[in-house]
């Protein structure tokens, strides 16, 4: 069996495996959405996917280009208003896991999607927080997936749009009614988890063929590695088939729309 795959496919399949069947997941657009739908189409058929546009328990046939694509609404159990989505379902504590992407992340899992540079005179203005600030604090836990590079993994984010564990790793301590925060970060090179004490990100698993040196070279701080460093399981032929079908369907759909 030929089982060749790209690093992006490795990332998506690994991120998908983080979701367990039956979880309720508040899904961010892009990589998280790809991973969450792959999970639904493989090992987790009963995962409940919720998008901030109000689409509850949605089962899109193709990946949405925007967070409010008609496909999400048409394949949802029901669609609620955006205030209801954020107030009842997210803030009300009905979400097990928030699945997020980001432009920048630091050693304490703080996320920046606001800007590069200074707020008053930004070098690059990014889209902003959207749903993420409250997804990250109201969901039971948070998974994060993004590509690994020195541009994205920085020592200190330029701006904390969305809380990981704060600049000192302690920002969730003693805060009532707050979720556990990020519990794993999945990239195209490895899987990381926050240290249970210090909350600093630790590499727990390297993808097959990836070296610790490669991870360090793509990280903007001296990253820690777990003593027991695992090798991430390879994607199965079925996972790759389902992912490729999903992406091909998605491309056909979006290209065909005039």
């Amino acid at each position: 069996m030929s089982n060749e795959y790209t690093s992006s496919e490795m990332m998506t399949v690994t991120a998908a495996k983080a979701l367990e069947n039956g979880m309720t997941c508040f899904v961010g657009i892009g990589l998280p959405s790809e991973a969450a739908n792959l999970a639904r189409l493989t090992h987790a058929p009963d995962v409940v996917l919720i998008y901030e546009s109000g689409t509850l328990q949605t089962k899109p046939d193709v990946l949405p280009l925007s967070i409010g694509d008609g496909e999400l609404c048409e394949s949802a159990l029901t669609t609620v208003s955006v205030p209801e989505m954020f107030r009842y379902w997210l803030q009300g504590g009905k979400i097990d896991v928030g699945f997020l992407g980001t432009a920048q992340i630091d050693r304490y899992c703080n996320l920046n999607t606001t800007l590069i540079g200074d707020y008053q005179a930004p070098k690059v203005r990014l889209p902003g927080g959207g749903g993420a600030p409250e997804i990250a604090t109201c969901a039971g836990e948070v998974f994060i997936t993004l590509k690994h590079s020195k541009r994205t993994f920085v020592d200190q984010v330029d701006f904390i749009t969305t809380l990981g564990f704060g600049r000192d790793g302690k920002a969730r301590d003693g805060v009532p009614n707050i979720g556990r925060g990020p519990t794993r970060v999945i990239t195209d090179l490895c899987v990381m988890k926050p240290d249970p004490e210090t909350r600093e990100l630790v590499v727990v698993s390297l993808h097959p063929g990836v070296t610790a040196e490669q991870v360090q070279d793509a990280t903007g701080w001296e990253i820690r590695f777990a003593e027991q460093l695992d090798t991430t399981p390879m994607p199965s032929a079925n996972e790759l088939d389902v992912l490729r079908d999903l992406k091909a369907r998605t491309e056909r759909k979006h290209a065909g729309e005039a």
Binding site: I29, V82, Y119, V124, P133, E134, H254
Partner: protein, 273 residues
């Protein structure tokens, strides 16, 4: 009671220079035709409110209509940046726009509070985020019952709200279907409201729990066929994803944008009557 007007007359009557304006529609039913009419009538110094500015506010900002922007996610969905918004914030072109930046949860709560006639919205929000350090419209209050520290933001109470919907009946009652976003809240929170619709029908054929906004809660209804294009109208036409991608090229450059504006807005007539 809703009055049936042309889009030109509705905007001319209810959108004043310097007004606080909300145009809502969460990716779906974005009131592009109404936004374009605001540009065509060269309204200026507007405070623009929208959770996701999207292409419609990129166009208004680039055309120089905006003084302030209140928003929570300012990207081109599925594509990348809003280049006109970025140019205004990063380089002050065509002029500086003051921004008040929130999270979606806070904006959604603020619209709901506006509809409820309250001065503020309370939420368990912004914990650990640095947004409160750059937006003085985010403050904290203590729950008088539990002592929990909660975020507070002013409610959204626009002078005028503009939304697009699928249809209205002949009494001006409006049905909104699909992703309903904060459209109802935007209408009820506003001093005046304009709803554009795809068509006027004899019977809305709405189920008992459908999102219907009564005609007596709306000021003006204007028919605008394909009024949400290039976003979509559930049951009528799909989102033009290709245009959203093309917009990246059009908006990246000031001259291309200006040419687009001339050709598609200023010299495109609109519905003047």
């Amino acid at each position: 009671m809703a009055e049936f007007l042309s889009l030109h007359d509705a905007v001319a009557r209810y959108v004043e220079d310097g007004a606080t304006v909300a145009m809502e529609g969460f990716t779906h039913l974005i009131p592009f035709a109404a936004g374009h009419e605001v540009i065509r009538q060269r309204k200026h110094d507007l405070t623009l409110i929208r959770m996701t500015p999207d292409l419609v506010y990129d166009q208004l900002i680039g055309a120089g209509c905006a003084k302030k922007l209140i928003f929570s996610w300012g990207g081109n969905p599925g594509v990348g940046s809003l280049h006109r918004l970025r140019d205004a914030v990063e380089k002050g072109w065509p002029h500086k726009v003051e921004i008040f930046e929130h999270s979606h949860a806070a904006m959604a709560c603020a619209f709901e509070a506006g509809a409820a006639g309250l001065p503020l919205a309370v939420l368990r929000g912004y914990v650990g985020s640095e947004l409160p350090s750059v937006n003085d419209q985010i403050k904290y209050i203590e729950c008088p019952f539990t002592g929990e520290r909660l975020a507070a933001v002013p409610s959204v109470r626009p002078d005028v709200s503009l939304v697009h919907a699928q249809k209205a009946d002949r009494k001006g009652n409006v049905l909104v279907e699909g992703i309903i976003g904060v459209q109802k809240e935007a209408i009820l929170a506003a001093g005046k409201s304009i709803v554009t619709v795809e068509e006027i029908v004899d019977d809305l054929e709405a189920g008992p729990n459908a999102c219907v906004i009564p005609g007596w809660a709306i000021d003006a209804i204007a028919v605008a066929e394909k009024g949400a294009y290039p976003s979509y109208a559930h049951g009528y036409y799909p989102r033009d994803n290709r245009f959203y991608k093309e917009w990246d090229t059009i908006a990246r450059d000031r001259d291309t944008f200006q040419a687009w504006l001339d050709e598609n807005i200023y010299n495109a007539g609109g519905q003047a009557q």
